[in-house]
């Protein structure tokens, strides 16, 4: 149990599980590497350079970096305009501000125009200590209905760095749920390769299948390991691309297990669980499932541990769901 008033956020919007290896600002570092041999890459931010981790790019390529000020609508418009002159425009702000304040601009100037705009949205889901004003617990639900928009929810530093580079060659507008600060390294960069539109089976199991995205996949892996110790055979399917959704990959995974746990850093409706349920229903498949996600309410300000336990994302909950089915 997390004590009230016991602490403050360890870092602004950072993931908790950094006891193991981590990388600092993988987004910015990957973007700098990419931009070195891609002169068409430009970067923008709406006063969130430091808090989105695009600052390494700003320092390495000041001529290609544009600070637009606290103006998220303008951020996306300027990015779309740059894209129309042949640039690939990477822009950063918080997920909450992008998906709420600037939504029409994302839909029309970016997605509808198929503009080469890559939105790296910081602190998606329940990751911001400032409370409901800053917490995009609904970003996937809002965005998944927009045609011609891709959505990616990477797990760790390895995948985020790969995604930052991959989206340059994905046509049109892409929304990435970004991770900042000290970002855990869960996947071995020599072994893991992000593939756009493909779910990845990270563990094979026959009793329970965990389907997860974002940093919840790290917890899904911990839960699956714990399940194995308890004699429960647990598989893990990581779904980094939310849109377009890998229906085929999900159905294949589901066919090999008896029950499901779906875990996401998003409200339990409108995100990954909803996509999975829709796919199962369309395929005529019924399978017992537990949804691990953020409760449907406005959430508190507080440390990451405090928010997650109150919000429903903590490790204990997912482990219990995987092992005990409750």
């Amino acid at each position: 149990m997390v004590e009230l008033k016991s602490g403050r956020a360890g870092g602004m919007g950072e993931i908790l599980d950094v006891e193991g290896p981590y990388e600092v600002a993988p987004l910015g570092r990957a973007l700098v590497e990419l931009a070195e041999h891609r002169p068409e890459i430009v970067g923008l931010t709406a006063d969130m350079g430091r808090f989105s981790d695009i600052h390494p790019f700003r320092d390495a390529h000041p001529d290609r970096f544009f600070q637009v000020g606290m103006a998220e609508a303008d951020l996306l418009l300027i990015a779309a305009g740059l894209a129309k002159t042949g640039k690939i425009a990477y822009c950063t702000s918080y997920a909450a501000f992008i998906t709420r304040r600037a939504l029409d601009f994302l839909i029309i100037a970016c997605a509808h125009s198929k503009a080469n705009v890559k939105i790296l949205a910081g602190m998606p889901g329940l990751m911001n200590p400032y409370g409901a004003t800053h917490q995009a617990t609904d970003d996937i639900a809002v965005l998944r209905m927009i045609p011609d928009l891709s959505i990616i929810d990477p797990c760790d530093a390895t995948e985020l760095a790969q995604v930052v580079k991959a989206v340059a060659d994905i046509e049109g507008t892409v929304y990435v749920r970004s991770l900042r600060g000290k970002v855990p390294v869960v996947f071995d960069p020599d072994e893991y390769t992000f593939e756009f539109g493909k779910a990845k089976e990270l563990r094979t199991g026959s009793e329970v299948g965990v389907i997860s995205s974002g940093f919840m996949t790290q917890r899904a892996l911990v839960a699956a390991d714990a399940a194995t110790e308890h004699g429960v055979s647990a598989g893990v399917l990581h779904v980094p691309t939310i849109k377009p959704f890998d229906t085929e990959g999900v159905l294949r995974f589901v066919a090999g297990v008896e029950r499901l746990v779906i875990a996401e850093n998003h409200q339990m409706s409108g995100g990954l669980a909803t996509l999975v349920v829709e796919a199962l229903y369309d395929a005529g498949i019924q399978v017992p499932l537990i949804r691990i996600g953020i409760q449907h309410r406005f959430h508190e300000a507080g440390s990451q541990a405090y928010m997650e336990e109150k919000g429903g994302l903590d490790q204990t909950r997912i482990t219990r769901a995987v092992i005990d089915g409750i």
Binding site: A71, L77, I78, L82, T85, G86, K87, I108
Partner: protein, 281 residues
């Protein structure tokens, strides 16, 4: 990249441009005719500007709308599509056969602009989205050391959208000087005469750091002079406040109270056409 526009499409004199503005008004009337309604008044009020922009100011390739060396005309006010499509037809981007289908089901040319049409730089129906994209294009051109300019047209009612001012602030802050914003102030919007106190418009643009001129927007010589005065690349974005008359050139439309989306009776089209000819003959 630089490929100069053929001289025969560059009109230099006010008389030539005035004639082309009349041709645009004729084309607009023809596109609207028999449809019973439309944004005809806006088309008429902006025809003089478009004649100067497309026949004097912009560099473009009549054979290739996507020519990378082009200047760009960004129409933020998508409901003025009738005027943009008229001029894009006149310069050869849109074939005559498409004009008569304007606004009909399944037609390529809709009542609002979509950027899948040749020569249409942005999708403009949701107001407040043009200037920011124009700023992005201007930054892109500057980064590429592209000599071209971006000309973006907004409207007075559109100035009520906050995103316009976000873009205005960013443009001057980034010292953009390859961008001209032209604000069509015709005094009308969907709910009637301009519904908020938005004056003094020119002072607002000056306060945001824009080199600003305010002119009679239906005076060809004044439009030419304003563009001439704003050519300097001096680190400041440029703005032209155009004071225009909705329905300009057709007295019946100029007098119409509800000019934003005019209704025209079937028997009126011939009369409007006669008025246009006799008023500009």
């Amino acid at each position: 990249m630089p490929k100069p526009m053929p001289l025969n499409t560059r009109l230099r004199t006010a008389a030539e441009l005035r004639f082309e503005a009349l041709e645009l008004r004729r084309t607009i009337l023809r596109m609207a005719a028999d449809k019973g309604e439309g944004y005809v008044a806006q088309g008429m009020d902006i025809a003089d500007l478009l004649a100067v922009v497309y026949y004097r100011e912009l560099d473009y390739d009549p054979a290739d709308p996507a020519w990378s060396g082009r200047d760009r005309f960004v129409l933020s006010i998508g409901h003025y599509s009738i005027a943009l499509y008229a001029v894009l037809h006149r310069i050869g981007y849109i074939p005559e056969t498409k004009l008569d289908d304007f606004g009909l089901n399944g037609a390529d040319l809709a009542l609002s602009t979509f950027d899948d049409q040749p020569g249409v730089e942005i999708t403009g129906g949701s107001l407040g989205q043009g200037l920011g994209q124009a700023v992005g294009m201007a930054l892109g051109y500057r980064l590429d050391k592209h000599p071209g300019r971006i000309i973006c047209t907004l409207s007075d009612g559109e100035l009520q959208e906050g995103s316009v001012w976000e873009a205005a602030m960013a443009a001057s802050s980034h010292r953009i000087d390859n961008l001209v914003a032209v604000i069509d102030c015709n005094g009308i919007q969907a709910d009637g005469p301009t519904v908020l106190d938005i004056e003094p418009i020119a002072d607002k643009w000056r306060a945001f750091g824009w080199d600003t001129r305010e002119i009679d927007g239906n005076d060809i010589e004044a439009i030419m002079a304003a563009f001439d005065q704003l050519r300097e690349r001096d680190g400041r974005p440029k703005a032209i406040i155009l004071r225009t008359t909705p329905g300009k050139g057709i007295p019946t439309l100029e007098r119409r109270d509800r000019a934003h989306f005019v209704r025209v009776d079937p028997n009126e089209w011939a009369l409007l056409s006669e008025e246009l000819e006799s008023n500009n003959g």
